[in-house]
């Protein structure tokens, strides 16, 4: 396969996006389209005892108010968060209790404000603690991983280790907040449902709607042509699409439900908070003797979702004794779900912070500590790795970053009031792939049409799949057209788990390879309708592999901590990845850098607070939930190794959408420790935490050395 794959081809939909003509789900102007506005529950737990919709219905322009009393009945969904307006139960604050449909956005919003709901509120409990009496060990964690794995005698081995780290870390709730809020436009015509939705996978949306509304899937068309980001929160259908379809059925109009930004944290999933306890034992040479990673997290009352944060510890380092365990407590909180690298992102923050602590404990270079613990096989499963180049990533990263010659002593570099430091962390993300179907057609004019229900959520899927197709066809890239983003295309799985390109690309490759063979066998001019080939990778893509398949990476960060304010700025961030074959250098770089930017946010600015009294996330809008801005992001570089792994898929690719966030927060946190000498174990590293830590550290030092408070340190002398 040579030619297009690997080339930095320009995004196929780029012109539409920069010219403003790319249409997103709320932007389909069907004739007579109505707008809808949901009403969120105002109690954290309880029942609705009455709904008064009279005032809302009296608002000029309001067409209907849907509540559990009049909304279309749905079949019971597999995902309980989609059972909207079906009963008076309020499982958490922000749960939608009504939907106002109106001629205009203004009328819909005014109508929603006029709906009066009475509740019988019940005592609620939203506070996560590791010692919560409701904590239990689930059967499995997200992704189907066993909740607990144990090898050898981790506690005994830890107790007799020469060097030990026993530390607790906390990652707060985090919100995906894609720039496009969840939105859907739906229309029923003669028993057929047409939906435009902002989703990472229209196929799943079609299937879910078919089940909920009792309509055959072939009577439902779902498109997701352009999607303004998702990061996991649009991986499966969310309430917006169910509400849009309900409202359209109820009113007989096309209806758009575009969720207000403030409502997202309660209804589209969030990264659950995770409480980590890490115990690392090592011998004097730095070889791990024991690794224990215990995670406690929350889920909602209606859905069990367990962030699989201890799973990466099963992959990373060689150790004879280990335990990885997930525990969860169901609280009156919104249902958590996927957010970019669920499991790996918070889990590797904790593990890689602990590795840094162990390096300090041992007086070892943190890069060398990781190299020393490189396993021969996947530690937990014993399977051989299909490819693993973590050490090479660390070495290459260290070279590019200028790691050699680093003074390991914390607090050793200073520029006026700024404390400077550098840090490193490793990253990993599993290879996932799912069966898909695709078709390819050769047309008489010499062009090709490839069709697959992939979703381009900003990854550049159209572009890279065309590249894959072109090479399989042996055709120039510009001859290959591609259609994605609709259930009218050959079915394919969602854009999630960094599996999209591998899954779709495999089917595209197969279809195009078959078509190429047909073309070589075909004599004479092509028939008018062209020549077709189809592929279905079922049986191949989902075949059990004997290999442990993961991408790896290394992150390096340089930070400046303002000793006056506790403000942390990242001056440099570098990632080096071994992620199989990179299919498009241009879009791949953007994905890596994008993941690292979100990791920077996780480290420094992003955090959500569960309000114990009211049971909702306090930081519900983009003024209070701090996504990094331009000014936060200085130099971010992503590089990769050429990794040739024949045990993946025909393209030789691993997923790249998520690994960028994994390890970034730990690298930054480790750099902050290097800069300050203070080990912060709770994210994000906002000025309130950092300044308090610096002052405590200084007070402790002063007490130890007997020097007076008020010398050098956070307060600059005159």
């Amino acid at each position: 396969m040579t030619g297009s794959v690997g080339a930095p081809a320009e995004r196929r939909e780029g012109r539409e996006k920069v010219s403003g003509t790319a249409r997103y789900a709320a932007e389909y102007h069907f004739p007579g389209r109505a707008q809808a506005w949901p009403v969120p529950a105002a109690v954290a737990r309880g029942r609705m005892t009455g709904v008064d919709t009279a005032a809302a219905l009296a608002v000029p322009g309001v067409l209907a108010v849907l509540t559990h009393e009049n909304a279309p009945r749905l079949a019971e969904p597999d995902d309980p968060t989609l059972a909207v307006l079906q009963d008076p139960r309020v499982p958490h604050r922000g749960w939608f209790v009504a939907l106002v449909v109106a001629e205009t956005l203004e009328a819909a919003r005014a109508g929603a404000a006029a709906v009066r709901v009475d509740y019988a509120a019940e005592e609620h409990d939203v506070a996560l603690t590791a010692s919560h009496p409701g904590v239990y060990v689930p059967e499995e964690a997200n992704g189907g991983y066993p909740a607990v794995r144990e090898q050898g005698d981790p506690d005994g081995a830890f107790g007799s280790s020469a060097a030990r780290v026993d530390a607790a870390y906390r990652v707060p709730p985090l919100h995906n907040h894609p720039m496009e809020p969840h939105a859907s436009t739906a229309r029923w015509d003669d028993g057929r449902l047409t939906v435009h939705t902002s989703s990472q996978g229209s196929g799943a949306v079609q299937g879910v709607l078919a089940g909920l509304f009792g309509v055959p899937a072939e009577r439902i068309v779902v498109t997701a042509e352009h999607v303004g980001g998702g990061f996991g929160s649009k991986g499966t259908p969310r309430p917006d699409v169910v509400l849009a379809a309900m409202a359209a059925r109820h009113t007989g109009r096309a209806v758009t439900v575009a969720l207000p930004r403030r409502y997202l944290p309660a209804v589209v999933g969030h990264r659950a908070p995770t409480l980590h306890r890490l115990r690392l034992g090592a011998d004097a040479d730095g070889r791990l003797t024991s690794l224990v990673h215990e995670v406690t997290t929350h889920t909602s009352r209606i859905k069990e979702f367990v962030e699989q944060a201890a799973v990466p510890a099963r992959v990373m380092y060689a150790t004879p004794h280990s335990r990885t365990e997930h525990r969860v407590v169901a609280l009156d909180v919104p249902s958590p779900s996927w957010m970019r690298a669920p499991g790996e992102a918070p889990g590797m923050y904790a593990l890689e912070s602990a590795m840094d602590e162990l390096a300090a404990e041992l007086g070892m270079d943190p890069v060398e500590l990781r190299v020393r613990n490189e396993p021969d096989v996947e530690p937990d499963s014993g399977k051989p790795f299909s490819s693993r180049h973590l050490v090479e990533c660390l070495r290459e990263g260290a070279r590019r970053f200028g790691w050699a010659g680093r003074d390991p002593r914390p607090g050793s570099r200073r520029d006026g009031p700024l404390l400077l430091g550098t840090g490193v962390a490793a990253a990993t993300y599993p290879v996932m792939v799912w069966p898909a179907t695709a078709s390819a057609r050769a047309l008489p004019d010499g062009t090709f049409l490839v069709r697959v229900n992939a979703t381009d959520i900003g990854t550049g899927a159209r572009t890279v799949l065309a590249q894959v197709g072109a090479d399989a066809l042996g055709a120039p890239l510009e001859r290959v057209r591609i259609e994605v983003g609709s259930t009218e295309l050959p079915s394919a799985p969602l854009a999630g788990g960094s599996s999209g390109t591998a899954s779709w690309g495999w089917a595209v490759h197969e279809a195009c390879s078959r078509l190429a063979r047909r073309l070589t066998e075909h004599a004479g001019p092509l028939p008018g309708q062209g020549l077709d080939a189809r592929a279905d990778t079922r049986g191949a893509a989902d075949a059990e592999s004997d290999w442990a398949r993961h991408a790896f990476g290394a992150h390096f960060a340089e930070v400046a901590v303002d000793s006056v304010t506790g403000e942390v700025r990242v001056g440099r961030l570098l990632g080096v990845y071994a992620a199989g074959r990179i299919l498009n250098a241009r879009t791949a770089r953007s994905q890596f850098v994008g993941g690292m930017t979100m990791g920077l946010g996780m480290a420094l600015t992003e955090g959500s607070t569960m309000d114990a009294a009211f049971g909702d996330f306090t930081e519900s809008d983009l003024a209070s939930y701090h996504v990094p801005v331009h000014a936060d992001v200085d130099e971010i570089e992503a590089h990769w190794l050429d990794e040739d792994d024949p045990r993946l898929n025909p393209m030789g690719s691993k997923g790249i959408g998520e690994i960028g966030i994994v390890g970034t927060a730990a690298a930054i946190g480790n750099a902050v420790h290097h800069a300050t000498g203070v080990r912060f174990r709770e994210l994000p590293l906002t000025p309130d935490r950092v300044l308090a830590g610096l002052l405590d550290h200084r007070a402790a030092n002063d007490a130890r050395t007997g020097s007076p408070v008020g010398g050098s340190g956070p307060v600059r002398g005159g």
Binding site: G566, V629, A631, R716
Partner: protein
């Protein structure tokens, strides 16, 4: 948002009489906060009196050397104005430290002063808030209040005023000019905003129907070294965790005049009068600044989760004062 009537005022008198003759009127300036609050349902005007086209959009020098900034001067134009930049650098810096380029292009001088707190309980109609709904209680006091007040709060309200600009105006001894049914008057910027006490619904000393027509910066603080510093959760486009504005005059080796104000610590920009008194006549040394700032902040009553604001404010105040002292001393000797 309920429906509302709209009238565009052509003169100040027209604006105030339109306001007076309609129940539930609000003045519409740049709208960056009012429209936001109307969408949330916090503000529910029956009529908007659009004052954006009033002839209050000039920055003009007054005969006594003071500078008047019209209430409709947009924040970006204020910050860029050469006379403001050259004479009152703290004001330009404060405005530029707030919001975003887009918001500063729309927001007006008057509107910036009148913006409401960003307390999340104030913004959420489903929660108690004495400022929004007197008597309903305060959700923040025992709730999430990392961003809230450490000075001057009351049992009824712990909100902070979010403006950066107003902090600089307070330190610079500016006055706020008002026009209303009872005519024109002016109020010192330092006295314009209130402490919450038992009437947190009242942010300022403005009287019903009064319109902010301008802000006057006095000649006395023109050209003196002044600066603004703000600490925040991200590098830009975030409200202050704490901020400080200061102006310093050093004569004969001692502090001859000083204005010091803190932002994000209280229900109003916090003019640090005790610190100023302690500094007057003292040599501008680090020790003197520490003594003065500590004296001021000794009044702080932090809540469960915002004690960090005290050392944060202390640190940035000492930094700004010492830099201003350096500037003042350099200027004197050069």
């Amino acid at each position: 948002m309920k429906e509302f009537a709209y009238v565009r005022a052509g003169s100040v008198e027209e604006a105030t009489s339109a306001y007076a003759s309609h129940a539930g009127a609000r003045y519409l300036g740049g709208g960056t906060n009012l429209v936001d609050l109307m969408k949330l349902g916090v503000e529910r005007p029956a009529i908007l009196v659009d004052v954006t086209r009033l002839p209050l959009d000039a920055v003009e020098e007054l005969p006594d050397g003071a500078l008047r900034i019209g209430a409709m001067v947009r924040n970006s134009d204020l910050a860029a104005h050469p006379l403001v930049r050259d004479r009152y650098p703290a004001l330009s810096q404060a405005v530029l430290a707030g919001a975003s380029g887009q918001l500063r292009n729309a927001a007006t001088t008057g509107g910036n002063l009148l913006q409401r707190t960003r307390c999340p309980y104030f913004q959420d109609l489903s929660k108690p808030c004495n400022k929004r709904e007197p008597g309903s209680g305060c959700g923040a006091r025992d709730g999430v209040h990392r961003d809230h007040a450490v000075l001057g709060h009351s049992e009824h309200c712990i909100a902070t005023h979010p403006s950066d600009m107003a902090v600089a105006l307070t330190a610079l001894d500016a006055r706020v000019e008002l026009y209303g049914p009872e005519g024109a008057r002016s109020v010192a910027a330092a006295d314009f905003h209130r402490l919450p006490g038992d009437r947190p619904e009242q942010d300022t000393e403005i009287r019903p129907g009064e319109l902010v027509t301008g802000v006057v910066l006095p000649a006395a603080t023109a050209g003196l070294p002044s600066a603004y510093r703000k600490a925040r959760d991200r590098a830009s486009y975030a409200f202050a965790l704490a901020s400080v504005a200061a102006v310093l005059r050093v004569s004969d080796g001692v502090v001859g005049g000083v204005g010091l104000a803190f932002g994000a610590l209280a229900h109003r920009p916090w003019r640090a009068r005790r610190a100023e008194e302690a500094l007057l006549g003292a040599a501008p040394t680090a020790a003197a600044f520490e003594h003065a700032v500590d004296l001021e902040l000794s009044a702080a009553r932090p809540l469960r989760d915002n004690a960090y604001k005290v050392p944060l404010a202390r640190g940035i105040a000492l930094d700004v004062l010492s830099r201003l002292a350096d500037t003042a001393l350099t200027r004197r000797t050069s």
